[in-house]
C-alpha cells in the first residue's frame, strides 16, 4: 500500500479510537460519580440514561467563545493545548490491540512512550505561564513539580517489566505474558506480569499513573477549591475542550498501558493466535474499562493530598520501592 495513504489511515484510526474512548469514559465518570455520591447524574440528554450528555457538553464547548486574556502571551497560550493533546495522542501509536493490530510496533516502544508522554508537562507549563494569571501560574508550577516527581516511579516500575520481559516492544511484552508458566491437566497456563512477581511494580505504576493524570487524590494542580482551575483557569471554548479531551484520552491511554504491561494486554488464554486479532481488541477494551472504573472509583472515594504529602509519597516511598523492585527483578531474572 502507498506509504502516505497508510499513514493517513493509521492517523484516522488513532482518532477513531481516541475520541469515542474519551467520550465513553467521560460519560462513565458522570454516571458512576452520580451513583457513588448519591447526586443526580445526567437523565435527559439523548433519552435513556442521558447517554448523549458528553456529546451535548462537547457541542456546548464548541460554540463558546475562544477567549484569550489581555495579559496572556497569546501565541504560547494558543499553542499549549495542542502540545498537551499531541503528547497524549502520540502514546496511542504503540498500544497493541492484537498481534497485528498495532499502528506501529516500535522496537523501543516503552522508551518512546515515556519520551512522548513527557511532552505533556511542557504543554502544562506553557499553559500555566502564558495565561498571565497567578492561579494559572501556581497551578502550572504544581503540575510540573508533580509530573517530574511521579515520572520517575512510573519509569522505574516500567523498567522492571522491561527487564522481566527482556524487550522494550509492547507487542513483545504481551507475548512474554502469553508464554506458558505451568501446565494443569493438559491446559497451558500463562500468567500476566502482575501475577508473575510485578505486584509491587503494578501498585507503583498505577499510583504514579494517577498522579501523572492529575486525578484525585493527586489533583493539586487544578484543585478547584484553592486555585479555581489551576492552569486551566483562563481557557474556554474549544481550547478548554482540548485539555478536557486530552485528560480523558490520557486516562484511556494510561489504562491501556497498565493493561498491556501488567495485565496481559490483548491476550486471552486458550484462544488461537489468529483469532486473537479479532478477540484481542475486545479483551483489551474490557481491561481498559476495568482500569478506568478503578481510576474513577479512587477519584470519588479519596480526599486530595497536600502538596508535601504528595512529594513525600513520590520521593520517600515510591522511588525507593521501585528501585528495590528493579533490583529484585534483576536478581530473579538472573537466578531463575
Amino acid at each position: 500500500m502507498n506509504f502516505w495513504l497508510e499513514l493517513l489511515l493509521k492517523l484516522a484510526l488513532i482518532l477513531a479510537v481516541m475520541l469515542p474512548g474519551a467520550l465513553v469514559v467521560i460519560f462513565g465518570e458522570l454516571k458512576i460519580s452520580a451513583h457513588m455520591q448519591s447526586r443526580i447524574g445526567p437523565y435527559f440528554a439523548g433519552g435513556r440514561y442521558g447517554w448523549a450528555q458528553p456529546l451535548a457538553d462537547g457541542l456546548k464547548f464548541m460554540q463558546k467563545e475562544d477567549l484569550v486574556p489581555a495579559a496572556a502571551d497569546s501565541m504560547v497560550f494558543r499553542l499549549a493545548p495542542y502540545i498537551v493533546l499531541m503528547g497524549t495522542l502520540a502514546t496511542y501509536v504503540i498500544i497493541p490491540f492484537g498481534p497485528d493490530l498495532v499502528v506501529e510496533n516500535l522496537d523501543l516502544g516503552l522508551f518512546y512512550l515515556l519520551a512522548v508522554s513527557s511532552l505533556t508537562t511542557l504543554g502544562v507549563l506553557m499553559a500555566g505561564w502564558s495565561s498571565g494569571n497567578k492561579y494559572s501560574m501556581i497551578g502550572g508550577l504544581r503540575a510540573a513539580a508533580q509530573l517530574i516527581a511521579y515520572e520517575l516511579p512510573l519509569v522505574l516500575a516500567a523498567v522492571a517489566v522491561a527487564v522481566q520481559a527482556g524487550t522494550l516492544s509492547l507487542n513483545g511484552i504481551v507475548a512474554s505474558q502469553a508464554e506458558t508458566v505451568f501446565t494443569i491437566g493438559g491446559f497451558d497456563v500463562a500468567l500476566p506480569f502482575v501475577l508473575k512477581g510485578q505486584i509491587i511494580g503494578f501498585l507503583i505504576f498505577v499510583t504514579a499513573g494517577l498522579a501523572e493524570l492529575s486525578r484525585i487524590p493527586f489533583d493539586m494542580p487544578i484543585a478547584e477549591s484553592e486555585l479555581t482551575m489551576g492552569y486551566l483557569t483562563e481557557y474556554s471554548g474549544l481550547r478548554f475542550t482540548m485539555f478536557f479531551l486530552g485528560e480523558y484520552a490520557g486516562m484511556v491511554a494510561m489504562a491501556a498501558i497498565v493493561s498491556t504491561l501488567f495485565l496481559g494486554g490483548y491476550y486471552l488464554p486458550f484462544v488461537d493466535a489468529d483469532l486473537l486479532n479479532v478477540v484481542g481488541p475486545l479483551v483489551l477494551v474490557a481491561k481498559v474499562g476495568l482500569m478506568c472504573f478503578l481510576f474513577i472509583w479512587i477519584r470519588w472515594t479519596f480526599p486530595r493530598l497536600r502538596e508535601d504529602q504528595l512529594q513525600t509519597l513520590a520521593w520517600r516511598w515510591l522511588i525507593p520501592a521501585a528501585l528495590v523492585n528493579i533490583m529484585l527483578t534483576g536478581i530473579a531474572k538472573v537466578v531463575l
Binding site: 502571551d73 522496537d107 523501543l108 522508551f111 518512546y112 511542557l122 502550572g140 508550577l141 513539580a145 517530574i148
Partner: protein, 182 residues
C-alpha cells in the same frame, strides 16, 4: 554531486523540511528578548534535531533527545525560570548589549567550525549511502554494556556525585536558622 541530484532524493527534501525550521528556531532562540520564549525555541530546535536523528536511523538517540533534553532539561529550565522571577505575559526581559552579541557570535562560529570540521574530517571517507536502517536498541545496549562499560560506569558515578552535591547545596541542617533562602 550537483544540486539537482541532491534535490532528486526524497530524503533530502525531508531533511530540508526539518532543517530550515530548525535553523530559524535556533536564530530566534538567541535573538528573542523573552527568556521563556527562548526556552520554547530551544524545544523546537531540539525536536528538529531529534527528527534529523530519526532520519539517520538513530532511533534510540532521537528518543533520548526527546526524553532527556526536552522532557527533563528544558522542563527544569522553565520550572526554574518560573519559580524564581517569572515575567508573566509579554514583558521583555533580556537585553543584548553589543559587546556581548559580538563575543557570543564569535564563540558560536568558532565552536561550529571546530565541531563541523572535526565531524567532516572524521567521517568524510564513510558517508551514509543507503537510507539507513534503524539501529536495533538491543545491539546498542550490548555495545554499551560490553565495550563501553567503563565510560558508562564513570558517567554514572559522575552523575551520582552531582546528585549528592545538589542535595548538599540545597539542604538546610536542623540547627541552621531559616534565614537567607526561601
Amino acid at each position: 554531486m550537483s544540486l539537482t541530484d541532491w534535490l532528486s532524493t526524497p530524503e533530502n527534501w525531508v531533511f530540508l523540511v526539518i532543517a530550515l525550521p530548525m535553523l530559524a528556531a535556533a536564530v530566534k532562540l538567541v535573538t528573542t528578548t523573552n527568556v521563556v520564549h527562548a526556552a520554547l525555541y530551544l524545544v523546537v530546535t531540539l525536536a528538529a534535531s531529534a527528527a534529523v536523528l530519526l532520519l539517520l536511523g538513530a532511533e534510540f538517540v532521537a528518543w533520548t533527545v526527546v526524553l532527556v533534553s526536552i522532557g527533563a532539561v528544558v522542563v527544569l529550565f522553565l520550572f526554574g525560570i518560573m519559580i524564581t522571577r517569572a515575567p508573566m505575559g509579554r514583558e521583555a526581559t533580556l537585553s543584548h548589549p553589543r559587546s556581548v552579541k559580538l563575543a557570543a557570535a564569535a564563540v558560536s562560529f568558532a565552536l561550529f567550525a571546530l565541531i563541523g570540521g572535526a565531524a567532516v574530517d572524521a567521517f568524510t571517507s564513510q558517508p551514509l549511502t543507503e537510507p539507513a536502517d534503524a539501529t536495533r536498541t538491543g545491539a546498542l545496549g550490548e555495545v554499551l554494556f560490553t565495550r563501553f562499560v567503563i565510560p558508562f560506569e564513570v558517567v554514572s558515578v559522575l552523575l551520582l556525585a552531582a546528585l549528592i552535591g545538589g542535595i548538599v547545596l540545597a539542604r538546610r541542617d536542623p540547627g541552621e536558622t531559616a534565614g537567607g533562602g526561601l
